[in-house]
Amino acid sequence: MTEKAVKMTDTNLFAGKRRLPQVNPVYFVLAALLCAIALSNPNFLEPTGYMNFLKRAAPLAILAAGQIYVIVSGGFDLSVGSVITLTVVGSSMLLDNNDDATWWVILVMFAIGAAVGLINGLVVSYLRVPSLIATLGMMITLNGAAFMWSSGSPRGYLPDTFRFFGRFNIKGMPLIQFLPVALIVLVVVGLALFWLMHRTNLGRLLHAVGDNPRAAQMSGVPVERIRIFAFVISSLSAVTAGILLGGFAGVSTDVGTGYELQAITATVIGGAQLLGGRGSVPASIAGALTLAAIFTLLNFIGLPKPTRDVVQGLILIAAVVLATYRRNRTGGR
């Protein structure tokens, strides 16, 4: 009996020792990619280089930081791309170049986003529809709605007050010369989502629900409400990403297309476990930056498009394999 207990302690100690120096490999991958970019194009080390990179990656990073809530709770949110499109198209329709309307239009968009998340969550939690199907349906519905609203072609412009968040740079900063507003948005949203997931009880419940919903339910966790909450966070992050994307480049009617898969990929690169229970906000943001770095690196190297696609796919698979390998080694599930 005593012997057994001692043995167990030993194993735990050993595991503890092995686990301590573990840093999520996504940070190494990201660092390696950034070095590669800097080597292939030294201008990247100038403020215009890395600031433009961060500005461009901000929408995806925010989206990934929201998506991880749903992933950790054991679901998927495929509707985020269409929420982005709806945000950009809807804002342009409501604003129509009227500077003063920006504030209430942004509020309306967040309200729509919250409603979308709420519906996703309700359908998944109470109607028991798998999240993949529920949010796929939402994606198709919202894309249709955006198309109906605009009849397939943008019907208005986004005024500068709206585009401020995604486009404007604060000039005259010491050292860094300029600071994109999009980066400030990313830092603020990133910190808030980090705090919510990793420093509050809510975050712990989220992990519990994703890890073992049945056990969570038995121990009195309000599983349904937690799931709904995760979907609302994801949709709100999509609205934020939409505001940044619309700001960065103006109105397109298919601006959000493909972002749902990019966001999920970013979280997986960041070591999240699809099907729930494991994932972190900073690692997901790093995953998004990694994805953006892959795109940028291949642009800089200047390979022809088909080669670029092949290389990009291989790097993506390698990054995910690395993340999975690490998970297996540390005994995580």
Binding site: F248, G258, L261, L316
Partner: protein
Amino acid sequence: MRRFLTTTMAIALLAHTAQAQQLNFDDPAEFAKQREQLTAKANGPEGEPWVQYYGDAMVDTAKYKKDGPYTICFSNAGVNNAWRVTGWTNMQAEVKLHPEIKELIHVDAEGSDDKQIADIDDLIAGGKCSILIVSPNTTAALTPAVEKACATLPVVVFDRGVQTKCPISFIHPVGGYGFGIQAGEFVANNVSAGANVLMLRIVPGVDVLETRASAAKRIFDEKGLKILGQEFTEGDNAKTKSIVEDYLQRGNIDAIWMDAGATAVAAIEAFEDAGLPVPVITGEDQQDFLQKWKTDGLKATAPTYPTYQWRTPIIAAVKILKGESIPGPEWVLPQPAITAESLDTYINDKMPPLHHAMCGCEALPDYPAAWGGK
């Protein structure tokens, strides 16, 4: 994640490129022919380019004569971009000018070859059509379907072509080479030899776009310009702006050539945000680009692929059913470019950003509301 998906399709893509090369999108004879048509005088009434035509070849349509009212059927490749939205609105308005048309039956293939083939079958089987208009999704795939329709109905094809001579007429503007020539020559005439040109394109492998690029490249090579790269934007603003930003980090850009203008303003903004002067740029007839051009006093030109060509098939259909001869087997419409001189004529800030100004629609019923204007 479109790019990621494309990755998995890389082999298919390479195969596709190989096929594209077989179709020859760089034909010197066609290049010369279209270059000539751009400056030639078209036949037909002045100021109404949608009924003008080059050459004298006409088709006799007496055998199709039939009493009205007519039901016109239209198999549409899709209404999936702003150009097609403007065009489709033009067509619906044109129908209102013809009391002899009882009904326009429109089926939207939503960008799918398979759906369009099925659509055409359904229209034939429905037996309601007096005549069939087809705007094919892709050339090769739709050829058998159009041939089948020709066996039972008079057929008119427009925009993209098919590989059969069975339609009564194939209506299209001068063409892709013409577009590439207009934009390419403007760039070549406004920069010095050895200047850096960035070519921004939407997607590879589409005939009307490949010919635009090949024509421009031919001109750039002749003039000794340096092509920095040919990049594909997929018509996406964010991607376009990112691409230009990346090129700006690597060096100087003296001119931007575009095979379509929907993302021209995003390309311009990349220069603005970097605090650089906007170089020589070619766009298209979208309102947002025309207005930006004027406000900022850019050195620019706007070749067009005129959306007024959507009016012509309706006009042709009615003439055919009345037994009047029409230009054919090809009805080639004029393809004007908007230049600094004509810019003011086409600017209208009451219209939506991606409204195509060369629509020939100003005098049509319900203008401007039906086009989203105020």
